[in-house]
């Protein structure tokens, strides 16, 4: 009996491991956003240089869509860019871009070079709208439902896995 006591530390440790393993399966990317299920904040952004139309919260209604926060300065945005282009090419879901804290003209130059995956783009040079959305960094992507409510928030670049396993299923679900 006394001998068994010496195995107590490893028994407790086994419990800790199980619990860490469960903890690991939880996705910290799914930060609770206070905005989830709330209507997207009201905004009306001007177009970026060289574009005719800006982006306002009115544009979001009627169809499931994505809002993508990006900037020409954002290296991680290059990582997700091919995925966004693919979405645009196959016409899966409209992506609205918010060009965040970009110097005038830089956003347009970047889009010209890399390709434009966005249906409409708003220029948020001052970062005010990004604050209303609770953006913590770029890239960040919001899924908006038909009524213009925010239903999901993803932080970080959209890789093909993220698109297939997280974002696309949510979009499908919301279309029902």
């Amino acid at each position: 009996m006394k001998r068994l006591g010496f195995y107590l530390p490893i028994a407790i440790f086994a419990g800790v491991v199980i619990y860490l393993a469960v903890g690991l399966t939880l996705d910290p990317h799914k930060l609770p956003s206070t905005l989830i299920d709330k209507p997207a904040p009201e905004f009306d952004l001007p177009p970026i240089e060289g574009f005719e139309q800006g982006l306002s919260s009115q544009d979001l209604k009627g169809e499931v869509s994505l809002i993508n926060i990006w900037g020409s300065w954002c290296v991680s945005c290059i990582i997700e860019h091919p995925v966004l282009m693919e979405i645009k090419k196959n016409n899966i879901v409209p992506i609205y871009g918010i060009d965040w804290k970009d110097p005038p003209g830089e956003g347009a130059v970047w889009l010209k070079k890399e390709g434009n995956p966005y249906t409409l783009i708003g220029d948020d040079a001052a970062g005010r709208v990004a604050i209303d959305f609770g953006v913590t960094g770029a890239p960040e992507t919001f899924i908006i439902d038909k009524e213009g409510r925010i239903r999901y928030k993803y932080i970080g670049p959209i890789t093909p896995e993220v698109w297939n396993e997280i974002i696309f299923p949510v979009v499908e679900e919301l279309r029902k």
Binding site: K2, R3, F6, Y7, P9, I10, F13, A14, V16, V17, Y19, L20, A21, V22, G23, L24, L26, P28, H29, L31, P32, W73, V75, K101, G127, G156
Partner: protein, 653 residues
Amino acid sequence: MIAEIGHFALILGLVLALVQALVPWWGLRANNPLLVRLTERVAIAQFGFIFFSFLALTYLFVVSDFSVAVVVQNSHTTKPLMYKIAGVWGNHEGSMLLWVLILALFGAFLARRGSKMRAGLRIRALGIQGMIGFAFILFLVFTSNPFARIFPAPLDGLGLNPLLQDPGLVFHPPFLYLGYVGLSTAFSLAAAGLLEGKIDRIWARHIRPWVLSAWCFLTFGIGLGSWWAYHELGWGGWWFWDPVENASFMPWLFATALFHSLRVVEKREALKSWTVLLAILAFSFSLIGTFLVRSGILTSVHAFAVDPTRGVFLLVLLTLAIGGALALFGYRAPKLKPLGSFSPVSRESGIMINNLFIISACLTVFLGTFYPLFVDALTGNKISVGAPYFNITFLPIMIPALVLLGAVVRLPWKKGSLKQVLYELRFALISALVIGALVAWFFWADSVVAIGGVVLGAWIAGGTLTDLAKRIRLKGSPIKDVLSRAVRLPGAFLGMAIAHLGVAVIVLAITGVSFWRVETIGMMDIGDQLHAGNLTLKLDKAFLGSEENYDLLQGDFTIWDGTEVVAAVVVQKRFYPVRGTETTEAGIHSTFWGDYYVTMGPQAEDGKLAVHFFRNPLMPWMWFGAILLVIGGMVAMIGGHKPSSKAKESKAS
């Protein structure tokens, strides 16, 4: 090219670590001294290759090679050189490289400096060190390659997180890692001792300097981190019970308990299995801390980028290392028989009880840190456990331990008398109470606890000084004898006394800053004044400016105490355009009795500044106390004690 060479050196280090992990057991079996020598050489060569790899990465940062991914993400051409170098460990990959570098460094030291150590113990410890090294280099190479290229290479990088661009933080991680990873030697030596079946006085003597050195580094690293938070985060606080702070604090508590109980093994050959368990757990908590920061299991200021494969890899590593050691403990520890017995009133009991308090306190920290995760795992709710939890659980457990500390230093080994000790400490007790009464009389702070803190600090200092006075027989001997006795005090004792004085000073600092703090908040325009108690804060000037890699908003303030000017401080809000983030450089004026601390928020629409003004009494004592702890640890380590005749005998055998 340099990146590829660095990568290659790292892989060679991996291979050598594997050799180091395997050869010792073969060497022991074949009883071949050549293989033993080989293991030593391999440990040193492994360090050499990893060091080369680290230099290669540093070079890439210094020359801003933006074809390497980590450089892009953590550096920028306009950054000062010091922060380009600091960028090496300001990210997951580079800091992991630093981690294995330090692991290899300790391994190399064990191989070179450990020659005085029992060969069977050292060689086994080197083998275990090799296993840990192999596992972590494997982790680095496969999931976190710091030399990965990016194509096409961008013209400039993203810059280092500006919060990290502070001298305090340049050195914080290396010291913290020296502490964290330094505990690996204690772990290896504990497992080696179990394998060898000899946990005795000599084992305790061998392991002690390794534990103490790691503890010193860890203390210094934690102190620097706290100092940084105080100066840079601009919240006026110095400890936030952030999960990652806790992750460094838990191994520290274990290491603290460990070198105290090592004393018992060394002196009395008792508490053996408890001590071995502490040695295993101290490093285990370092590993858990590493997991916490790097697995993405939680988000924090400290957390690195999230990547699930890393988390799984680390969890497997953790399970093998800790699980293996604990299984060995379960199998071998029952065979460890204590030689000495001791009475309930003795130094041994005192240390044991203090140990139990420290470990219980550590468990409350552990629960507080992991509970939110636990709740999330079970119910999906996200909660956070904040400072109030820790203050009501951790502190009440630590207080009895600290009260005991003042007395246990005077308790003799084996058997003592409480009455005798209290009699010896009567002056310490009376002066502590008198100091408490005086403070209560002149500076009543509406709290009995505050006065209790003062009494506690004075009591620890009094107990330590009494002990010192008795050792050098201050009373009734000629001053010459006293001085010569003082000079010849053993390092272990002197170190302990210095460190305990450090504890007393820290207790006083915490009490002062928690209970006598004065603060006020207000919106200020140029020329406005803000009042807190007798103090007046005036905003003299506010202007915008720009520096090499940031823009700034500066406020110049003057502080009056009554009608007398006591300080002029400068506060800056810095805006780093590359990352689009802000930091606050708090304006701090330190005096012996405390800090004046001013910080400000963003400018409002009408041009006014949100200003937060603190008077933090005794705050500088915190840093002074931490330095005393480190000096005490170093003195105890260096001036340890000469090996006794017994130790020599067993080495010969």
